[in-house]
Amino acid sequence: MDIEIRFLEEVTVVEIAGSVDSLTAETLIGAMLGELDRDRARLVADFSRVEYISSAGLRALLATLKDARRRGGDLRLASVSPPVLRVLEISGFTSILNLFTDVDAAVVSFAVN
């Protein structure tokens, strides 16, 4: 799994590629929490190149979501592929966080608030 981070003015975009599972979840959490620690709590996770997510991956996502919200920010997902979306739906994640068709839409949604 690879992670690349882009900084926009108020929002941090985290681009994730590969599989988010028990073997890679710690790396992802480390990167996300790193941003949160730097007071950048408005996160957009670009899921366009995420192929797979396991329950361990879901837990990593959840930990990040809660921390971001506690700091007054949020974690929003963009460009989730159909198979990954199915996992998010079955696991109840689509009911608790906001998904967007692309990164721009997700970034703009922070401004609307």
Partner: protein, 292 residues
């Protein structure tokens, strides 16, 4: 990074429970005495009625009076004979699922219109979200805009009892089928502290007919859904979920409007128990340290 307000946003979520949902009026009484207002209200099934009364801006006393007139046994007493006939001879008489309901809804609709008129959800004093279930795929549908009466009618559209209700081109049924206590809607709309009141469906004392059998089964599954959704959402929420659980020592049946005062009082008692913790949470400010 500017955080707009350092005050925590408080949401009230009222789950399904027929007349027991009136306990939410008790919660309203206690909190308004403390000067604590709700930043949003979410209602499911009968809970949608109480959530609406609150969102419109009625005080607890007014809401209690209006409830006594609104939610009585007569609401489900009139049979929809034509629907029954259609059910028994579908091909001959033309069965239509979108209009099928064993109970006539004229009375409840009349009363809802009398209570809420033409009100639109987006115009109300407090942001309101009413939940229903999409009849075609079972998904939860949150209604945050549009006709208030239509939203409530959809939320209480218990299958077989009342016919499904069309809102914005979607055929909707009772909200409890997708989630009897929809914390998720509060979470998605930026709530911090969530005050939740919900009820389990009653189990049958004896199961002597296929009908009671079906009710028993329905209660079993609905209660399991309630518990697992609640557990998941509480765990996934970044802030506190305060569950208000009134103890009804007396048995309260679905339309026991005669017990309204008792129900509201139990709601007050249960809310008072949570008050110290709630005060502490709100004193902490929005990004204050929360308990580990």
């Amino acid at each position: 990074m500017g955080i707009e307000s350092s005050r925590k946003r408080v949401a009230l979520v009222i789950g399904s429970g027929s007349v027991k949902c009136a306990a939410a009026i008790g919660i309203q009484n206690v909190l308004s005495r403390e000067g604590i207002g709700f930043d949003m209200v979410v209602g499911c099934s009968a809970g949608a009625i109480y959530a609406s009364l609150m969102a419109v801006g009625h005080t607890g006393d007014t809401a209690a009076q209006m409830t006594a007139r609104l939610w009585t046994k007569e609401v489900t007493s009139k049979r929809n004979t034509w629907a029954m006939l259609r059910a028994m001879a579908p091909k001959m008489l033309g069965f239509r699922p979108d209009t099928f309901g064993l109970r006539d809804d004229t009375l409840i609709m009349g009363r809802l219109r009398q209570t809420f008129g033409d009100a639109r959800i987006e115009d109300l004093k407090i942001p309101l979200h009413i939940t229903a279930t999409d009849f075609s795929n079972g998904e939860l549908v949150a209604l945050s805009r549009g006709s208030l009466v239509d939203a409530i009618r959809a939320s209480i559209a218990l299958p077989f009892a009342f016919s499904p209700w069309r809102v914005d081109g979607r055929l909707l049924i009772d909200g409890f089928l997708s989630d009897p206590l929809p914390l998720s809607v509060a979470m998605k709309n930026g709530a911090d502290v969530i005050v939740a009141i919900g009820f389990e469906s009653p189990y049958q004392e004896t199961v002597g007919s296929a009908g009671r059998f079906a009710f028993q089964l329905s209660s079993i599954m609905s209660n399991n859904l309630l518990k697992s959704r609640f557990a998941f959402h509480s765990m996934a929420h970044h802030s506190e979920v305060i569950a208000i659980l009134p103890e009804f020592k007396e048995r309260v049946k679905l339309f026991d409007v005669g017990k309204l005062d008792y129900i509201i009082r139990e709601g007050e008692l249960a809310a008072e128990q949570q008050l110290p913790y709630l005060r502490q949470l709100l004193a902490e400010g929005r990004t204050g340290a929360l308990s580990a």
